[in-house]
């Protein structure tokens, strides 16, 4: 009987402890036990920053590639579907990881920032810290929605309390209203002083100025821009080209930067770097550059005489002298399609380097952008604007000339909208595609693009149809996965 009792004992041991035996909890936080401490709030907020380091987000491939929609740049190689979109030939946005990954990364920002906004208020912690965390989360929400709305129009507005919310697109107007709401909230939560890589009040008001400008709310835009200008917390860095160096990438001109880390991200410079700078004339690590996006000859020729931004932004084959990998000589870049490459982010590569991610922070929003937005708002409020491009507006001169003079150009006493267009084009080139979005919001994209002659095979003649090409085609996979609750943009199939 002894043996039987062993079995019975064994059986009863197993069955009696079965409930706890089969309960295995994850070795990570579950939602049930999270959101308790200040440190958790900080790390959840940090989680909302993480997607911005993605390959397609700030300073990434999609960010850089948006310049190929404009007249400034073109996609050098790879990504035929994206090129088709940038040449206004595409009917869809399918098999194109640039758009989809960027879209996905920004929605991760939105989800995570929304979770912070929803959960952090309930945590018992230092109120000042709580306010800052909520302010940053609201700013990130505003930034992410802004990035999406200018590309796609209305997008789903994520609501943690409504599981259906990601399945339908809000209207464009509601999306803008939401951007205004979160940014205004952020302005009540952030302060002017902030750590590197985090936004402060300057970033929140600056982005608001931009969001208002996109909606032609000129009074609001002007007020927001001038809140930044009058704060005295931000100024232009005196030497334009030095702003894009590791030493000065956190200068006060940069209202908000993507904090960089050597060896990890971003690789913005690499995206523009030709993969053979010297054409065999000097030793260099070949193949480092991805030459994803380069500049057009047309853009190179569009600089005014004496504009210091030219040498800081572009270089031409067999003409311009560049410094790369410890050597200063004439640029060769033999396998670039156009003779012009973008050198704006090449400063860290002047010395011999061994890292494609040199640790250069990428500015998401610069003070010069805000100064020009202020000037633009003043012009629009004073009879100027895209429809009255030659009307001089002396009232816009102060912010306008701050930018212009920094570039080494003579001030203009009463700048016109044409002058403003020149400044925005040359000030912000290759920084995420502002030129294209500006032309679209001004209603000038068709005029500018359709009159541009073809340049080589890399920048063919294009036809921009405002009704259709104002927005990008929505990522097709989102329409497919949603089973059609997410609708395509007008004009696209």
């Amino acid at each position: 009987m002894k043996k039987y009792s062993i079995i019975i004992l064994a059986l009863s041991m197993l069955s009696s402890c079965s409930k706890s035996f089969l309960d295995k909890e994850p070795h990570t936080f579950t939602s049930a036990v999270f959101w308790q401490t200040a440190d958790q709030a900080e790390s959840a907020l940090a989680g909302a920053y993480t997607p911005l380091q993605g390959e397609e987000a700030l300073g990434g491939e999609e960010w850089a590639s948006m310049e190929s929609f404009s007249d400034i740049g073109y996609e050098n190689d790879n990504y035929p579907d994206f090129i088709a979109m940038s040449e206004f030939r595409a009917n869809q946005n399918t098999e194109n990881d640039l758009s989809l990954n960027s879209y996905t990364e920004y929605f991760q920002v939105i989800k995570r920032a929304s979770d912070v906004v929803a959960n952090v208020p309930n945590i018992t912690m230092d109120e000042a810290q709580k306010k800052r965390i909520l302010g940053e989360a609201n700013f990130l929400l505003g930034w992410a929605y802004f990035t999406e709305v200018i590309r796609y129009g209305g997008v789903p507005l994520y609501d943690p309390a409504n599981p259906e919310s990601p399945l339908t697109r809000a209207t464009e107007a509601d999306t803008w209203a939401n951007i205004e709401r979160v940014l205004l909230e952020a302005t009540t939560q952030l302060s002017w002083d902030h750590e590197k890589g985090r936004p402060g009040l300057g970033a929140a008001w600056g982005l608001l100025a931009k969001a208002y400008a996109y909606q032609q709310k000129w009074t609001e835009s002007k007020n927001a821009a001038e809140t930044v200008i009058n704060s005295g917390k931000h100024s232009l860095y005196p030497v334009f080209r030095d702003l894009f160096t590791i030493e000065h990438d956190n200068a006060s001109e940069n209202l908000w930067v993507l904090g960089a880390r050597e060896g990890e991200y971003p690789i913005t410079g690499t995206l523009y770097l030709p993969n053979d700078v010297w054409g065999g004339a000097h030793d260099e690590p070949l193949g480092n550059g991805w030459r994803l996006v380069s500049a057009t000859q047309n853009f190179y020729d569009s600089y005014e005489e004496g504009d210091e931004r030219k040498a800081a932004t572009v270089a031409k084959r067999n003409v311009d002298v560049v410094t790369y990998f410890g050597v200063t000589d004439v640029l060769k870049a033999p396998n670039n399609q156009s003779p012009v490459v973008c050198v704006k982010f090449q400063r860290p590569f002047e010395q011999e380097y061994n890292n494609l991610a040199p640790g250069l922070s990428i500015a998401a929003l610069r003070y010069s952008d805000i100064l020009l937005l202020d000037a633009e708002a003043i012009m629009n409020l004073s009879g100027g604007g895209p429809q009255n491009r030659t009307v001089p507006v002396a009232a816009a001169a102060v912010p306008f000339n701050l930018v212009r003079e920094r570039a080494g150009l003579d001030p203009i006493a009463a700048p016109t909208f044409d002058d403003l267009m020149y400044e925005r084009k040359h000030e912000l080139a290759f920084e995420g595609g502002d030129r294209h979005f500006d032309l679209v919001r001004w209603g000038l994209a068709a005029e500018v693009y359709n009159n541009l002659p073809a340049e080589g095979t890399y920048k063919p003649k294009r036809t921009f149809d405002p009704a259709k090409h104002r927005l990008l085609p929505y990522p097709q996979s989102q329409i497919d996965i949603s089973n059609g609750t997410i609708k395509q943009n007008p004009g696209y199939q």
């Binding site: 043996k3 009917n91 098999e95 989809l100 994520y158 997410i486």
Partner: protein, 1034 residues
């Protein structure tokens, strides 16, 4: 008096209750005999087999009576019989019975001939064994000698083609590469790997097992056979039994060694420099590239027309494979033991790839007191792998060899190790091999101990506790290669570690009783299992000032990793199970199983599942009315039905977790970041596989021809589907839902024909063939009827979709090449618009599948499945006077391969990349190809979009091995050595395939559990080998 000295010894444990019953009766008779004291015959004898070895435990009975005895451990017996004449019936398990007539006292020698063992063959089943003739399920049993040819690296490799319905897919020819086993088709869109059980203990895989240690493998294919494993058996079960010592066996030492040389069986060809110039200039001309463009300078430079390097020659080497194993086995009256060592070393055919494995295995059994047996198994496996990168889209060494220009020298300056800089994104392959130092060390300790007690002659209780500890460490160092190209400009070190601990405790009680013509067995048991996997990633250190291999440790880095990571995953499983089998008169067989399982992977309300099965068999050939007894020696019809579960999804899916998501740089330093990155579903539960099997076992010509055939219908419901989520949910990982239905229907046929017993010339021919039709009936979720998989160069080329077979390729359909402008103009949609306006003659004509007038990703079509329609194999073995011959062929039919290498081989990837020689047959106005388009870099027609020109027939027939051996006669080798055999093997020597890539045997894609095979990224090819080996027995 004499009674006490009667040869009544503890019966060997394997004796059936029937025979033990006989002893009791016999004892009674002896008493009678002594009482009557008549004239007796005193017989002493020895029972031997046909080779003169003693046969212990043979039964010796006087015909027509119950009088008898059994032979002792030396085969001797002693019998005292009344009367003057008797007929002795001698029998033993595994031998043909014989009779002799004795008329006088004295010694007799009896020779038993080994039975042609079909009828008494025992197969291993879940938690026990069963006579093969009694089996009612579909079980493939593969003996150790099939597994241990002395030439295979792993047990799974040698299982290839050995059992119908068992598909073995080698993931690559890489030394130490892993192997996938799929039983009866792809049953789920999740993990399809079967359950592995080694000596009764569940194992995560069998990659580390030494083939020389395997006694037998049983593959439980149908639901009835696997049902005893319940929730784990949904994908089938592979049960491995390792070799044991035998009781009463003198120590046997065996030593086997084999050495072989390997080489690539085929290499594709890349253009030489002059041809490359010609093709690229033609492409530039076709694109209208202005002659002022500096790109022409490159091709016009005569230095660039010089072919300097054959990259394949530079990266390949003759491989070397060496395999040694030593085993010592034996046993005494109450104990047996087995000890074995193995050592395998393989230098792969790609330079720098190497695999070494050391195996130690020990087991023993001891009968502590009568009927109480203690035993253990213990195994140690240590392995070192050095990998050559072959799978990376750009880093793959074979694709780099293909696509680098051949005018580039290996070195610009060999003395200073400055490499010839690559033209494009693919690094210099030699630099890549030299720089990438990828090593993995693995160690595992696996063991179990058990205690078994038999009582009341029909019950056995057993408790068995097993523990499995596995450790792996991988260390990747990339050195700077001067001029080496992309990825080789910075040095870095990353290391990570993982341990896996699993314990399993099984308790069973079994019952076995024969009453007249009724034979009943029963089993009841319980099993508890728990495991934890722990991982530590130590991060990446950069900027080593000295790259000496001895200094490749974190302490010597210039920049230290700033973020280590670690995680753990645990699970537990608990089950109760029972089995009853009933056999009547060797004619009617019936078996039922039930198992109830609980899994920690599901929420408490959905945790438990019950999995029943029933099966039956009818041995027609044993019926008195069976008319064909002369010609048909065995005919059995089997049928089974059962339900099994599958819980092979990641742990914790019913929790909403917040986990680490990288680290942003805030205030200049990395900041810990977390986020909810997955959505939970608390309602998920077991996937259920319901399978019906009908089979027939046929023995003809006195069992010289054996045929087994099965038809099965396997349907998996509640398949756990990870429903794709729109990105606006902001989480990376979608929740699982029980939604999908997958069906697999197929047949399996195995046949063996062999020489008559006692032939001088022996031979055996075995053929297996199986076919399975797979279909994803539904994903069962709204808004999604397809899942895209297998990213190749930023495009998903595989698809899992409703109504179609799982894991097919999904690309545009190429209808041909436009030969004239008229053809382009005539290719119109229903509105009369030209569908491909950008095309010019020589471009690819694509099917506008959705008829929307444009060619887009929406026009992709199912371009064929990676899983073969038909798998087959055949084996011919023969022996004559010491010589043995063994040849094994295996093949597949109807599987497709996506040949990613075609992107550069027949299309222009860009001007920085070389092409394959096939591109010489491109379309030109004077030589109008119908299969290869014109060359163009601009590619306005998107000829190189993935399309059916990339898809090739992956069918192949391969001679896996041909072995010729000779066993030396005793006169040659003396008494000390009991066996000496030498053999020569040719491995993979003949491959018949239309596939144009490196090798048609392309395994699972990237993630080894993915359900798509055959995406050729330049996979490490299988090598052909010439192997010489010797087997000794002492």
């Amino acid at each position: 008096m004499n009674l006490l000295r009667l040869p009544f010894r503890p019966a060997p444990v394997w004796l059936s209750p029937t025979i033990r019953g006989l002893f009791t009766v016999w004892l009674t008779c002896i008493v009678c005999i002594f009482a009557n004291a008549q004239t007796n015959l005193n017989i002493t004898g020895k029972v031997m087999d046909d080779k003169g070895n003693p046969v212990p435990g043979a039964s010796v009975v006087v015909r027509g009576t119950k009088t008898g005895t059994s032979s002792d451990s030396s085969g001797n017996f002693k019998l005292t019989l009344p009367g003057e004449k008797a007929v002795l019936v001698i029998s033993s398990v595994g031998f043909n019975g014989t009779e002799i007539t004795v008329t006088q006292s004295g010694p007799v020698d009896i020779t038993l001939v080994k039975k042609d063992n079909t009828n008494e063959e025992v197969v291993v089943i879940g938690y026990g064994t069963q006579k093969k003739v009694d089996v009612t399920g579909a079980i493939a049993s593969v003996s150790g000698d099939k597994i241990n040819q002395g030439i295979n690296q792993s047990v799974a490799n040698s299982l290839q083609g050995q059992a119908p319905g068992v598909t073995v897919i080698q993931n690559s020819g890489e030394p130490g590469g892993s192997t996938n086993i799929v039983i009866r088709g792809t049953g789920t869109i999740n993990n399809n790997s079967p359950l592995y059980v080694v000596d009764g203990i569940i194992a995560p895989d069998i990659n580390g097992l030494n083939p020389a240690d395997v006694e037998n493998i049983s593959v439980l294919k149908d639901a009835a056979s696997a049902a005893i494993y319940g929730s784990r058996g949904g994908n089938g079960v592979v049960i491995v039994t390792t070799k044991k010592g035998k009781r009463n066996q003198k120590t046997n030492v065996s030593f086997n060694t084999s050495q072989g040389i390997q080489s690539a069986w085929r290499m594709p060809e890349a253009l030489n420099a002059a041809d490359r110039n010609m093709i690229h200039k033609e492409a530039l001309t076709n694109d209208g590239t202005p002659t002022t463009d500096p790109i022409w300078d490159y091709y016009n430079n005569p230095d660039h027309a010089v072919t300097r390097t054959d990259w394949f020659n530079e990266i390949l080497q003759p491989g070397y494979i060496s395999n040694q194993d030593l085993a010592i086995r034996g046993g005494s009256g109450q104990s047996n033991y087995s000890f074995s060592l193995g050592f395998l070393n393989n230098d792969g055919i790609l330079k720098g790839s190497n695999f070494q494995r050391y195996n130690i295995r020990f087991n023993s059994q001891h009968e502590l007191i009568k009927n109480l047996t203690f035993g253990e198994n213990f195994s140690v496996v240590l392995s070192d792998t050095k990998t050559a990168e072959t799978r990376g889209d750009y880093d793959g060494v074979l694709s780099s060899a293909m696509f680098n220009f051949r005018d580039i020298p290996v070195y610009v300056d060999q003395a200073n190790k400055i490499y010839g800089a690559p033209s494009g994104d693919f690094p210099n392959p030699v630099a890549s091999l030299d720089s990438r130092d990828y090593k993995t060390k693995r160690a595992s300790l696996i063991g179990n101990i058990y205690l078994e007690y038999k009582f009341l002659k029909m019950f056995t209780v057993k408790t068995d506790f097993g523990y499995d500890w596995q450790f792996s460490k991988s260390k990747n160092f990339v050195a700077i290669a001067d001029g080496g190209g992309r990825g080789l400009t910075q040095n870095s070190l990353s290391e990570n570690y993982a341990t896996n601990n699993v314990w399993v405790w099984n308790n069973t009680i079994s019952f076995d009783k024969t009453i007249d013509r009724h034979h009943v067995t029963a089993l009841a048991g319980m099993s508890a299992e728990s495991g934890i996997y722990e991982y530590t990633g130590a991060g990446t250190a950069l900027n080593f000032s000295n790259q000496d291999p001895a200094l490749r440790y974190y302490d010597n880095a210039g920049t230290f990793p700033n973020h280590a990571n670690g995680s753990a995953d645990d699970y537990s499983l608990q089950g109760y199970f029972g089995r009853v089998t009933y056999e009547f008169d060797n004619r009617y067989l019936l078996a039922g199983n039930i198992r109830r399982d609980g899994s920690s992977k599901f929420a408490p309300d959905h945790r438990w599942g019950t999995f029943p099965s029933i099966s039956g068999g009818w041995r027609l050939s044993n019926e008195s009315f069976f008319p064909l007894k002369e010609s048909v020696s065995e005919l059995k019809i089997r049928a089974s039905w059962g339900q099994l579960g599958n819980d092979k999804i990641p742990n914790y899916q019913y929790f909403s977790t917040i986990s680490s998501v990288g680290s942003p740089t805030l205030n200049g330093v990395p900041y810990t970041a977390v986020a909810q990155n997955s959505m939970a579903n608390t309602n998920i539960h077991w996937e259920v596989t319901t399978q019906t099997d009908i089979g027939i076992d046929l023995g003809l010509l006195k069992n010289r021809l054996l045929v087994t055939a099965d038809y099965f219908d396997r349907r998996t419901t509640d398949v756990l589907v990870q429903v794709p989520l729109v990105a606006s949910y902001g989480v990376g990982i979608a929740p699982f839902q029980n939604a999908g239905i997958v069906s697999n229907k197929g047949f399996e046929l195995g046949a063996t024909y062999r020489s008559a017993p006692k032939s001088k010339f022996t031979y055996q021919v075995t053929a297996n063939v199986s076919s399975v039709t797979n279909k994803l009936e539904t994903l069962g979720v709204e808004g999604s009827n397809e899942i895209f998989v297998s990213n190749y160069k930023n495009t998903l080329v595989g698809r899992i979709a409703e109504g179609e077979a799982i894991g097919h390729f999904y690309v545009l359909k190429a209808l041909g090449i436009f030969q004239t402008q008229e053809e382009i103009d005539a290719y119109k949609d229903k509105n009369g618009n030209v569908i491909q306006p950008s095309a010019v003659p020589g471009d690819v004509k694509f099917l506008d599948a959705n008829e929307d007038g444009v060619i887009s990703a929406k026009d992709r079509v199912n371009a064929g499945n990676s899983f073969p329609k038909l798998s087959y194999s055949f084996n011919i073995s023969a022996g004559y006077s010491g010589f043995d011959f063994n040849m094994f062929w295996t093949g597949t039919q109807g599987n497709k391969i996506f040949n990613g290498m075609k992107l550069g081989e027949i299309f222009m990837q860009g001007t920085s990349y070389n092409n394959g020689t096939d591109i010489l047959d491109r379309w030109t106005p004077t030589s109008k190809s119908t299969t290869i388009p014109r060359v163009t870099v601009k590619d306005l027609n998107s000829n190189k979009t993935f399309n059916t020109l990339y898809i090739e027939d992956g069918s192949f027939l391969r001679m896996k091995y041909l072995t010729v051996g000779y066993t030396f006669g005793e006169d040659l080798i003396g008494k000390k050595i009991t066996k000496l055999r030498a053999f020569i093997t040719l491995q993979n020597m003949i491959t018949i395939t239309k596939y144009s890539g490196f090798d048609p045997e392309i395994g699972a894609d990237v993630n080894s559990y993915s359900n798509i095979y055959g995406v050729d990224r330049g996979a490490y090819p299988q090598a052909k080998a010439f192997i010489f080996g010797i087997n000794f027995n002492f």
